[in-house]
Amino acid sequence: MRHLLSISDLNKSDAIVILDTATELARVSDGQVKKLPTLRGRTIVNLFAEDSTRTRISFEAAAKRLSADVINFSAKGSSISKGESLKDTAMTLQAMGADAVVIRHSASGAPQRLADSQWMTGSVINAGDGTHEHPSQALLDAFTIRKHLGKGGPDLAGLKVAIVGDVLHSRVARSNVLLLNLLGAHVTLVAPPTLLPVGVESWPAKVSYDLDEVISQVDAVMMLRVQQERMNDLFFPNAREYSRYFGLNSQRLAMMQPHAIIMHPGPMNRGLEIAAEVADSARSVIVEQVANGVSIRMAILYVLLAGAPLEAGSN
């Protein structure tokens, strides 16, 4: 594996290797900041053409803990915001000798464009592209689910997960549907019909419009952020109605199975898709998701960069 552009780049054993590696890394460090020499002398560029402090910091911490040299190339004040083309940026990174580029971009497919082009030779890691995918988020979500609900096996066989909210615009949902399915979990998407893509019937997931019907059945519920700009775009009448039908409030919390966990990729709109008391409840693993992010991203960097370089073109 040379790049991580989409969960579809992984087979089941690749995904499990990443989860297992992250498990070991998390266990050894045990919360303390430890530095491993693994990627000493390698250069990793964080190319963030879209603001995302949390993901950038998570990748930066992961790379630094593996002793890589990290260069941050973020949107504000960089040439990307001044209209420099992706191609010119890529050629700059190539000249800087980047071994890997972690890219966050508002355009779906931008990481694949980088990977497929002849503009640069390093590994490309998708840190979220438009409304396409966010594979490292899905891996950390699977990691979190396995830690809490795993039955000792390496995968998530038989677990039921609901993904609730703006599936149409969610890269987190796309990556999670693919990965959860790959690991044997059963996914139900819950959303108003306006926020499900045409073509969703081809996804390996069930679809429901009724959160109350689904909430009591699942082992984990993953709430998606509702972007502010959707409010004025006819996807639903208003925030109050959205919240009434698709928000996770304490009544719905009470309907959940005792072992079920609550997840959110962040940042949350408290009071809209998730009530404050639910986000802060004992069932919520939202803060832990953030912590797990560093271990998962270390594992991704390890798997992509630590081994011998593959022949050009192989992936």
Partner: protein
Amino acid sequence: MSTTTFVLKGGTLVDGSVRDVLIEGGVITTIDKSIANNQATIIDVTDSIVLPGLVDLHTHLRQPGREDAETVASASRAGAKGGFTALSAMANTSPVADNAGVVEQVYRLGQEAGLLDVFPIGAVTEGLKGETLSEIGAMADSIARVRVFSDDGMCVFDPLVMRRALEYIKKFDGVIAQHAQEPRLTIGSQMNEGEISARLGLRGWPAIAEEAIIARDVLLTDHVQSRLHICHVTTAGGVEIIRWAKARGINVTAEVTPHHLLLTDDLASSYDPIFKVNPPLRTEKDVHALREALADGTIDIVATDHAPHTMESKECEWQEASFGMLGLETALSIVHKTMVETGLLTWEGVAERMSLAPTRIAGYKEQGQHIAVGSVANVTIINPHKKWIVDRDLVQSRSRNTPFHGFELPGVVTHTFFKGKLTLDNGINV
């Protein structure tokens, strides 16, 4: 070697007969089993098909305004290379061809290039804004003699504006060529809406956005008893509506592009904007419906929608890239591959759909005539037995954005005659 008198030896005409053709003074003067002429340049076209010169009803020549992407002269060379003897210059230039001045300028540039006829299309509305009618009458009366009006690139969306335009052009038997795209349903749209767009996270472009406008406009055309042409039909549903309208006797014609006869939306999976085009590539089912419709005459013609773009507007993220593909140099080979090799169309059918019918729709003079004695000598020779590999670095167009780079295609255009003058000689531009 004469440059005005030619004998085409041993070519096959579209009716299947093998004949020699004598071209003298810009006209076909003799067709016979064997012609001997000492003054003539003899061209051996054995095993090749002799077609009437191709006429494109939908070409973006980019001049004036974007001469870095294409000029009338470079598009003329690309046209000659592809077997065309007439192009129709779409109005979305800068400035927009919404007045007599611009259409006359484009017409003159075509004449100066001298490789084929360049017939300007006039904008329906001022600045393509869809609000007020452009000077349609003045363009019709200009030396460019405009008969086809289109806001292509933009849809004439306002139903009242469309109605008035359809009515106004009846004065001189004009036609409105509609770019059928409901704008509200396609805000920010990037590709066909369906399974592929759902997976790729690219904003969907529903088929209905095209079909709704086609349906509205055939009804409007019926109501005001005018004439409508639908640009680049891409959906099976659009085909059904046009079939229905024709059965009702509504005066509507339609075109399909070569790329929509071959390519499908799964190509977007590469996120390579070389496959980004307006209207978007659709599904396998649509491709089959389009081929059937072109075969049965529901769709009247093939038009290229040749849309050159500079490197920088394609070497970028999908959503930042421009819409459009080159088409002139590959059109006949794509039709050969998708329609002739599949048995859907004979060469006679190809001549009808790529030369005679577009000429009739647009009312062009001295184009689209059968290979017959007395016809203007606009002639295209294609060797159907040869194959070639498309190379974007070898195109005549000033841009390189062909989606067919690396494709092996059947049928090589070897010679093009424009009014008796050789513009493509053994595959080489003259």
